[in-house]
């Protein structure tokens, strides 16, 4: 039955892969209008940079809707910002720690507001676009985005009063845009510039309501809530294999981003391999940046025995598509026994399995016995130990299943791991797995009872030899 099931699975995999890959994202002319970022840096005119990303954690509650923001230079405390409503100053904030010397108008605004209708607003600027821009809205109710192919503006809900926008142009000149009573926004600015819509490239927009998107819109979505960021580790696996150069059987480290992990959304991954010396110092052996989807895994010939540290992180500051998380550089330490031929492997997301980080084996989870056995592999011994090593590596390989690729009639065919497709039907998949485990445990229980019954006979001194 087994030999018939393989072609069947291959055919099914091929069709499902083709089926699931046939999906095209609709694109509209508005898709590139809205951009947002989590990496927020204000660059002062003297070149000093301020990372204001962290300021998102603090939402100031209870602030009144903002009608006007003006800024002026404060001789003692730096830059001062006034928030007014109906010409009444409702808040004055001094921005400390920024070098505003010799600058007439320049500052960062890091305050966040939320009114009684839970409308959060904020502004930031970024240097990731060709032009710095700041966008700011405030309203008693969710604002209404106004889409045009080249820009995005907004106005308050017809029943509402106020929306405001602040823009910071490339030369760090702040302009303020106010909309009152649903009228088209008009501009006031402290430098007399009124037309500023053209240079909006990055802004951050919060809305508790589902905003209206243009038909066919496939660009970035507005965020609907403020979430404190959480650390996010790339999911990856690693192993040490004999080198593919059979004349020089040194261990080769292979590390790859786990593409099957459901949270993978793309982006480049940065690898860093260090050799840890006994003196406590670390020598960087290799660094590399790879795109997990477009590149082969990281492969590096280890120079020999010793302790190594392998770290992987996103090259960006946050995983693409995960605005509530920030990336951290995650590393494991592993030990090569003698000449790099140790067959060890591991991962940083063992899903509940224990993983010895600073030990001999990480990720080999045959319940311990095989995983902890130190199996050296000389050439002849290598052959004898190969089945044991095969079994030792198998659980880790199943857990980190790799798609199979091969050429067929000059066509590169890739068969995805079927479990990633099965998991789209979790109920059926869980029932199937419980059934398998149940049947398996039943068979094991019978076998265990037979073993105990066999050894309990006082006259029976037969030895059952493992059938490797």
């Amino acid at each position: 039955m087994f030999k018939f099931s393989l072609p069947f699975i291959a055919v099914i995999s091929l069709f499902t892969a083709v089926f699931f890959s046939v999906s095209a994202n609709a694109a509209s002319q508005y898709d590139n209008v809205y951009r947002t970022t989590d990496r927020l840096v204000v660059t002062s005119p003297n070149g000093k940079e301020y990372d204001v990303s962290k300021s998102w954690a603090g939402i100031v509650n209870g602030s009144a809707p903002i009608s006007l923001i003006t800024g002026k230079k404060d001789n003692s405390a730096g830059f001062q910002v006034q928030y007014k409503f109906n010409n009444q100053i409702i808040a004055v904030r001094s921005i400390d720690g920024l070098d505003v010397k010799n600058q007439s108008v320049w500052n960062q605004y890091t305050d966040l507001f939320r009114d009684k209708n839970s409308w959060s607003v904020s502004q930031q600027t970024t240097k990731q676009s060709s032009r710095n821009a700041v966008f700011f809205y405030s309203s008693l109710s969710p604002i209404e985005p106004l889409w045009t192919p080249n820009r995005l503006t907004a106005r308050p809900h017809p029943s509402d009063a106020i929306a405001a926008a602040i823009f910071m142009s490339s030369n760090n000149i702040i302009t303020v845009n106010i909309s009152i009573n649903s009228q088209p926004p008009y501009a006031i600015s402290n430098d007399g510039v009124h037309n500023f819509h053209y240079d909006i490239k990055n802004f951050i927009f919060y809305s508790t309501a589902d905003p209206n998107y243009p038909p066919g819109y496939a660009g970035e979505r507005f965020r609907d809530s403020h979430i404190d960021k959480e650390p996010f580790n790339p999911k990856w696996t690693w192993e040490v294999r004999p080198s593919t150069d059979f004349n020089d059987l040194k261990g080769t480290l292979i590390a790859r981003y786990d593409r099957n992990y459901p949270e993978f959304l793309g982006g480049d991954v940065y690898y860093e391999l260090k050799k840890l010396e006994d003196s406590g110092t670390a020598q960087v052996l290799h660094t590399e940046t790879k795109n997990p989807y477009q590149s082969s895994p990281l492969e590096y010939d280890l120079p020999g025995a010793g302790r190594y540290e392998l770290g992987i992180g996103y090259t960006g500051d946050y995983p693409q598509g995960f605005s509530d998380k920030y990336s951290t550089f995650n590393s494991v330490i592993f030990y090569i026994n003698w000449d790099g031929k140790s067959y060890i492997s591991g991962n940083n997301h063992s899903d509940g399995e224990s993983c010895v980080i600073d030990g001999l084996i990480c990720g080999n989870d045959l319940g311990g016995p095989l995983g902890r056995a130190d199996i050296n592999t000389h050439n002849l011994q290598n052959v004898i130990a190969a089945p044991v090593i095969f079994l030792k590596e198998l659980p880790s390989k199943v857990r980190n299943c790799e798609p199979i690729s091969f050429n067929f009639v000059n066509t590169q065919i890739s068969l995805p791991c079927m479990s990633s497709l099965y998991k789209q039907y979790p109920v059926i998949y869980n029932i199937w797995q419980v059934t398998i485990i149940g049947a398996f445990m039943f068979a094991l229980s019978l076998s265990a009872l037979r073993t105990i019954k066999g050894v309990s006979s006082p006259d029976d001194d037969r030895i059952e030899v493992p059938k490797l």
Partner: protein, 119 residues
């Protein structure tokens, strides 16, 4: 839910078998066999490496090919929806099975010797 069940089973079996006893025996046997094999085969390994480097490479390729085959075996197991925990449990089970057999056989052998000497 399935992960909880699997983890519960593994915890139960680990507790039942005891990571300190059968596992230690299994580990000791494997390591002992490996050690003995290493001593016996070491001269041949040195000779092969020194005078038959091609054979050395070919022997190394055996393990490498099995490791390579493991990728496909893992894909097949994954395709059948078999949880990897089953393989782990299988390893634990055989540690238990051969551990029990080994202890029982050793005990009987000791008793036989004892009876033979003292009778």
């Amino acid at each position: 839910m399935i992960n909880d069940i699997i983890q519960g089973l593994k915890d139960f079996i680990n507790w039942l078998l005891g990571p300190w006893f059968f596992e230690a025996i299994f580990y000791a046997v494997i390591s002992f066999l490996n050690f003995i094999l290493g001593i016996i085969l070491y001269p041949f390994s040195v000779l092969i490496k020194a005078y038959l480097p091609e054979l050395d490479s070919a022997l190394g390729a055996v393990a490498h090919s099995l490791s390579y085959a493991g990728t496909y075996a893992a894909w097949i197991i994954d395709s059948f929806g078999i949880p990897p925990a089953i393989i782990s449990i299988l390893g634990i089970f055989y540690a238990f099975k051969y551990g029990v057999t080994f202890i029982a056989w050793s005990s009987k052998l000791i008793l036989k010797w004892k009876n033979a000497i003292w009778s």
